[in-house]
Subunit: 196 residues, 2 copies
DNA sequence: TTTAAGTGATACACAGCTGTTGCAGTTAAC
DNA sequence: GTTAACTGCAACAGCTGTGTATCACTTAAA
């Protein structure tokens, strides 16, 4: 949403918008209230440049959530929900999320006020997640029925697992795989058995 | 921590500090960045008065967390961990938390930066929680071993359940008891069975 | 190589929150 | 009933972050 009406951006400018988005994701994940100054610094640019690429802080946040949304969607597509059995799909989806190093929490915290849907995710992503849980339920992996509830528990567990140090005993017990720990925990939490 | 070195406060002043703390808990739960102006307004007082009772925003937050800590501790004591079997203890503890209408999340978010322990809770409360989970583990209710992991999942689930509307299907399925849903979910998440 | 686009640096206005002070009016405490 | 404490109101200074504008310099693009 940076600039889509006027002319084409110069190559370096476009590269800088990407830099800013990357830096913003990183910095805001650590501190959701970080100033544009710090974000620009992390991107190796000046605050003025940040303002040139994004009209306002608001605009930057929107672009960031849009990018996040795209990644969620791509993860949902890559996990091939329609063909594979649900639990491996769920695991694969979670693995992709961790590979993308997506830190969602800052979005949840800040976007909830102005976003129309309360999760901070786009309706399409919510819908995709809902399908995953619906398939898990059909397969008997979980018993929980509420879409909001399933999604909320899932995101919360992802967040907790992200906080975990690499040598945490429960993480080691899951073979060192954060995604595996997430799946076990969420499936258990939502009324299934933690054994596959 | 309001004023403990000088003289005794006048009755109305002391009452106002309590009002401020109550209002702060309520307002900050909804918006962790709310200004002292709004907090004072919610307490029916002026911002100046807020500053008279608490030297700084920092001091107010500290007093608030201390109060929160006291309530956690009292809940831990009331749940009689030593005598009763662990799962009812866990349920009772959670019930007390909900009765107290404690909204912990804002503390987690804001205190983590300056607090020495990463959970934002005092060491004594952390220790008490750890004991609860240790007893649950001994009784075979859960299999998870990490104290941080158990506590993190517990607080996250409590937060999620708090967000749930009263008519959420999964809440109804738990008999309408938020505490019951928390216990089922946490026990399941941490490697136990959701059936008592 | 020429040109237009982009950046860095700097300065400025503006808004919101914090913390402090002074004063007049009210209220608890003795 | 008197006194000391407390509050409301208002004003002030200070800080931080945002958003805008200008100018000289650098760089991609034709």
């Amino acid at each position: 949403m940076a600039e889509t009406g006027t002319r084409r951006l110069r190559a370096d400018a476009e590269q800088n918008t990407a830099r800013i988005l990357t830096a913003a994701a990183e910095v805001l994940a650590a501190d959701p209230l970080a100033s544009l100054e710090r974000i620009g610094e992390a991107a190796g640019l000046t605050r003025a440049t940040v303002h040139r690429r994004f009209a306002s802080r608001q605009a930057l946040l929107e672009a960031l959530t849009e990018q996040l949304d795209q990644r969620y969607l791509s993860a949902l597509e890559q996990s091939r929900m329609d063909t594979a059995p649900p639990r491996p799909v769920f695991l694969r989806l979670t693995e992709i999320l961790f590979e993308l190093k997506v830190s969602h929490r800052f979005a949840m915290e800040l976007m909830s006020a102005k976003s129309d849907c309360r999760s901070g995710l786009s309706p399409r992503v919510e819908e995709g997640l809902e399908q995953v849980f619906a398939r898990l339920r059909s397969a008997g992996d979980i018993t929980a029925t509420g879409a909001d509830w399933c999604r909320g528990v899932y995101l919360a567990v992802v967040h907790e697992v992200t906080q975990l140090p690499p040598d945490a005993p429960d993480l080691v017990a899951a073979g060192g795989s954060r995604a595996e720990l997430v799946v076990r925990t969420v499936v258990g939490a939502l009324g299934g058995t933690s054994q596959p």
